[in-house]
């Protein structure tokens, strides 16, 4: 097993996540794509942890999992608030701050 195959897998997932964030209109779908990106980062951290035989990578992967959970909680609260105010979660309709 080489480090390259893990890094390539994680960059594929990262780019698919970027595509999802940019091409989706629904707020919940954008949150799902962000989860893809965070998981790609976690694969990198754990792979480098195995490469350098250093436990720090795994510990930080755990921290990222905790932060991702917090991010989904707050993100969904924001999406629900948008839905309550506009009766839709269409992100292209949210342009109140456009000059």
């Amino acid at each position: 097993m080489t480090i390259t195959q893990y890094l390539l897998l994680s960059s594929v997932l990262f780019c698919i996540g970027i595509y999802g964030v940019l091409s989706r209109k629904n707020g919940v779908m954008v949150l799902m794509s962000i989860e893809l990106i965070l998981n790609a980062v976690n694969i990198n951290l754990v792979a480098f942890s195995a490469l350098t035989d250093n436990i720090a990578g795994e510990v930080f992967a755990l921290f990222i999992i905790a932060i991702a959970a917090a991010e989904v909680g707050v993100g969904l609260a924001i999406v629900l608030l948008i839905f309550r105010n506009k009766q839709s979660v269409d992100l292209s309709e949210i342009d109140q701050m456009k000059g």
């Binding site: 097993m1 480090i3 919940v28 976690n42 999992i65 969904l76 629900l80 309550r84 979660v89």
Partner: protein
Amino acid sequence: MVAQNVFFSILALLMIASALKVVSTKNIVHAALWLVLVLAGVAGQFLLLGAEFVGVTQILVYIGAVIVLLLFGVMLTKANIGEEENINMPNRAIPAVIATLMFAVMSYSIIDSFRGEKLPKETVTNAATVSDSIFSDFIIPFEAVSVLLLAALIGAVVIARKETA
């Protein structure tokens, strides 16, 4: 080593196919269910790398909690259960070009800088090693994460509750 490579390839193909379905399907509930497959694949990769505690935490937190939260979000925003037409940006070619270019640059630099460097022979890091490290070297980040979780909890309640005058 051969068995590990076989399992890596199976999991990787499954994850990439499911991730593509997550960003391309028109049914929001199906997207959440495809996301389960991707997250389970990531947990499998962690186990292949010998990170058992991170793998189990991935299953508990992501598949157990985050997916349920996302499905609640789908339910509370009254999405259609079936297919939905108005779910994608009108021009999806530009995001596709951006993602492809990004992958080209990243894969070139990864292959160029590591050149197939081998991972050392696999050693399983057990939960005791991870917890020793968290509660000695990383105690301050750990406490910071617990405060952050509390702040996120309170913040989510404050943002999402109904305004009562």
